[in-house]
Amino acid sequence: MNSKERVLTSLRGGQPDRVPIVETPDLASLLNLAAALGIPSPGPEDTYLVHRMACRLVLELGLDAMLMPDPLDVMEHDGGIIRDRFGSEYRESVHGEPYLFRGPVEKLEDTVGLDMRPAVSSADFAPIAVTRDALGPERPVIMWLTAPFKLSWRLRGGMQELLTDFAKRPELVHALARVTTDLLVSMVEGAADAGVDAIILAGDIAGEEGPLFSPRHFREYVRPYYEEIVASSHARNMPVIYHGDGNMWPFMEEIIDIGFHGFNPIQPQCMDIAEVKRSVGDRLCLVGNIDCRDLLCTGTEEEVERVVRETIAIAAPGGGYMLHSSNSLHHDVRPENYIAMVRAGQKYGIYPD
């Protein structure tokens, strides 16, 4: 099996030849990994720096895929303020991470006539061709997209604002979900046309202690819109992985009913992988669970190998598991530990004939 067959077989619930190894890196972690492996960086002036570095590391480490970042997450720096293309404004943290402080929608009237789709152009899908050229047809292209819930709270200037709207301004919540879902459906179509093989939808809706909002609000404000996006992706034969941090137990059956193929990242602090495998492992491909909060940052390479071996033993039997960190590779992840994670995945992830 090649990487593409391996990943798509897993996402569709089958058992491939070995556990696929996929990952979501940020730029800092890519540069750290490249430095550890002695790979020169193309330099910050390269428009496709992140994509080229990711492809280089896929080949160097023998990964099946690095998941491509959401093309709409590109921000413009304007002095001390960072802006996205939809009018939300961010400041920069000491780690260079943008954090939202203002959005363009304050009230229902601000959504009248609002259409996010004209802000997207074919240039946004150009990195897909760059990735294809670098990796060839045997590796899958999997792309992150940001779910309506998060896009909505960005438009509102903060998650707190949108969650308050859930309780007090249902029309505004639906109006935002409509506008953002229209964008998402067009992004799914654009991604399919550009050759993307699978989508991962970033939809954090839970903390470690449990959901941010009730299952009733999920069914009212979230589920119908996810169904539209997933239906659009199914129509183009692209599986969709749902990404939701935290304790997602109250929503798991809904995630399956909506038609998602995979579930990520299965945070080990609040979701026991054995219980997840037992409960939904025959209906969802599980993607993740290797702790990037502590283990990959401060653990030893031996500890990483042991955890990967144990996780594969629990999650991989029968197929439907892909090795991935419990969120993403970030600046605090030790490159040696990630390399140990990949090597352990390659060592312990082979299915018997």
Binding site: Y99, L163, T164, F166, G210, H217
Partner: protein, 219 residues
């Protein structure tokens, strides 16, 4: 007009329902009946919030309901505030709050700030990504009884110890109680960081801040 404890129950229920339209009028009604402002605060507003807090802790309600209630509570406290002062109630204390450097998570911290204000405390919110120096300067300038710090990333919880050490060096540590919280934070971590208190969620943070305030009053 006769005093009617029923209005206090209505106030508590309006807080729980997040009804910011009805609440100011109910507060006015209670004051019009001659109820002491402190009683309206404690037996009406705070009682309602505590009830909602218990439901939140039990997973029966979620952030939207708590945020709506906190909004309503703050609307009511702005009506009640002048009456509390006019009736000679001493200020309940001051809290400086912020999310530590390198961490941009705001919602838990904001909710704690809202609830503290709703409980009658004066709150200075320094925002997110707050440096050690900014925390120390705020403690020096504002002289709060409690400094509350939030972190959602395990990598940034190291900032708690950096702040407590800097407060020590600046000679300010003994004049303020330090409260820490956030998803990765546990009691033993708080103790190691030299903090005085720890809270696992926003409702617990208010109770812990109140406990720490009481400690400072005992001194």
């Amino acid at each position: 007009m006769a005093r009617d404890a029923g209005v206090l129950r209505e106030i508590a229920a309006a807080v729980e329902a997040g009804d910011d339209e009805a609440l100011p009028a109910l507060v006015q009604e209670a004051l019009g009946q001659g109820m002491p402002a402190a009683s309206v605060l404690d037996d009406g507003l705070v009682a309602g919030m505590e009830s909602l807090g218990r439901q939140f802790g039990a997973g029966e309600v979620f952030l939207p309901e708590v945020l709506a209630a906190a909004d309503a509570l703050n609307a009511a406290v702005s009506v009640l505030g002048p009456h509390l002062v006019a009736e000679g109630n001493p200020a309940r204390g001051k809290v400086v709050i912020g999310t530590v450097a390198g961490d941009v998570h705001s919602i838990g911290k904001n909710l704690v700030a809202l609830l503290l204000r709703g409980n009658g405390y004066e709150v200075t919110d320094l925002g997110v990504d707050v440096s050690v120096e900014e925390f120390v300067a705020a403690v020096a300038d504002e002289r709060p009884q409690v400094l509350a710090m939030s972190a959602l990333l395990s990598s940034t919880t190291a900032q708690f110890a950096a702040v407590t050490e800097a407060l020590e060096i600046a000679g300010l540590r003994r004049q303020v109680r330090v409260l820490v919280g956030g998803a990765p934070v546990r009691q033993e971590f708080a103790t190691r960081a030299g903090a005085d208190g720890f809270a696992a969620n926003c409702v617990a943070a208010v109770a812990e801040a109140t406990r720490l305030m009481a400690e400072t009053e005992d001194e």
